[in-house]
Symmetry: C2
Subunit: 275 residues, 2 copies
């Protein structure tokens, strides 16, 4: 069994030192649960609600020379775990990216740049042009995407077809109105996508309002059946949740003796979806 | 406002006369709600749990010469409504199809053949090779797919990109284990897909076990926000639900000043999804 932990953090925009400490404390708590894989939120080093591109630029760092990523590498060694987290990347091209890394055994295993940008992010960041990565780790294959990426079923499908056992998703889900008795649609979408692809999905969200923006607090781990294994928190406080996951379940795409969610696809009929 | 009704029926395999009467009663009840559009279940004329292809063949009829479709045409005139319902089709090619029709103003507006077949259906039916149709009606554009088709996000996307305001789905959702306190994943998937495409989805399911198969009873109408407007029933009894829907909401794909769920797509990056 693989222990996956998802960490819902209270971060402050611009307080990179404080945010790094919050991440370190969450990783330590996740390690107490025996976590093989720890997911932290989007833009976990800088916070999210920038006043504009200038503020983001002042806080950004290149992946290869980022104090934040050095810190996560050290944590990955100290706790013998794999860390997935979002950071504010300054590209070699001088542009800013809303990125996330998979860090394991003192190594940056991949850096992914968010391809679908949300709202004012478009005024700050350049969208990535690469598909969601899938990293082969000793315990299983880890896919990675960021927040609004999850709302594009094509993107989740790409990661699943790429072999992901679990799709990790650092997010900052801004809160919106939820009808009484309903689960927030952000969480519902993730449940649906997990079940349609028969993969685990592990989401780490934010809490505590930042510059007037409040969050869903939807930190959750969902099974390939589409049901939560831990969370959703859906409350405005920090949390570290863990679940033991049999990642091999995600390699069996069968639903019945005659059905398999991958081989039942009719891709020759889906052409226009890619246009 | 457009009134949409979804009808959860108890049907009996082979009892075409009784099933037709159950459909007629449901359409009459929907008409009392002022329904502009009435959705009935999959294989609404014949029932679902065939002993094999021979039994299905004995019950099937060509669309152009089907007593069931004649009956729905008459009902569409009598109640001045549009009927969407599933039937067992004998094709001109001699093959059997799990089909559904949109019937309005005494006309068969489209016949759709299920493209993704579930379980033992593969031993009875030939899958359709045409995309989900979208029918332009006076009150809005009606998309159509059947049951397991809904589990392919590519298919729902096709209907949405094709202009559907509401995707209608006759289904027979076989029950599976649902964790305590959770909504069945069948319903959750539909909620997620409605929100990712910002369309209405109207599902008519079954109730009452048929030859040992029981059903989710998940009849539901979901808004473009991904929340139920009526249902889900999730109980094992017949039901006619109606909701007033502002279908124009489905033509506005914006989420924020900077986001639109269609124009935010990155189709040049989705190539492999179509393969």
């Amino acid at each position: 069994m693989t222990v996956i932990a998802v960490c819902q953090l209270a971060l402050s925009v611009g307080d990179v030192t404080g945010n790094r400490a919050a991440a370190a404390a969450a990783v330590a708590e996740a390690a107490e649960h025996g976590a093989d894989l720890v997911v932290l939120p989007e833009l976990c080093d800088t916070g999210y609600v920038f006043s504009g591109a200038e503020e983001a630029r002042a806080l950004a760092a290149p992946a290869a020379d980022s104090p934040t990523l050095r810190h996560w590498r050290a944590l990955s060694v100290q706790y013998a775990t794999t860390i997935v987290a979002g950071f504010c990347e300054l590209g070699d091209d001088g542009r800013l990216y809303n990125s996330a890394a998979v860090v394991s055994g003192d190594e940056i295993r991949t850096v992914y740049r968010k391809a679908h940008l949300w709202d004012a992010e478009k005024l700050v960041f350049t969208p990535g042009d690469e598909p969601p990565p899938v990293v082969d780790l000793p315990f299983g294959r880890v896919g990675l995407m960021i927040c609004y990426d999850l709302e594009f079923p094509e993107w989740v499908r790409l990661a699943a077809l790429g072999g992901a056992d679990v799709i990790t998703a650092p997010v900052n889900w801004p809160a919106s109105e939820v009808p009484a008795g309903e689960r927030p649609s952000d969480v519902v979408r993730v449940q649906g996508e997990a079940s349609m692809n028969r993969v685990f999905i592990a989401v780490a969200d934010r809490c505590r309002a930042e510059r007037g923006v409040s969050w869903v607090g939807g930190t959750v781990i969902v099974s390939p059946d589409g049901y939560p294994l831990a969370g959703p928190v859906t409350a405005d406080h920090p949390a570290v949740l863990a679940a033991s996951c049999d990642l091999a379940q995600a390699r069996d795409k069968r639903l019945t003796a005659h059905n398999d969610v991958f081989t039942d696809r009719r891709p020759t009929l889906y052409g226009p979806v890619a246009k």
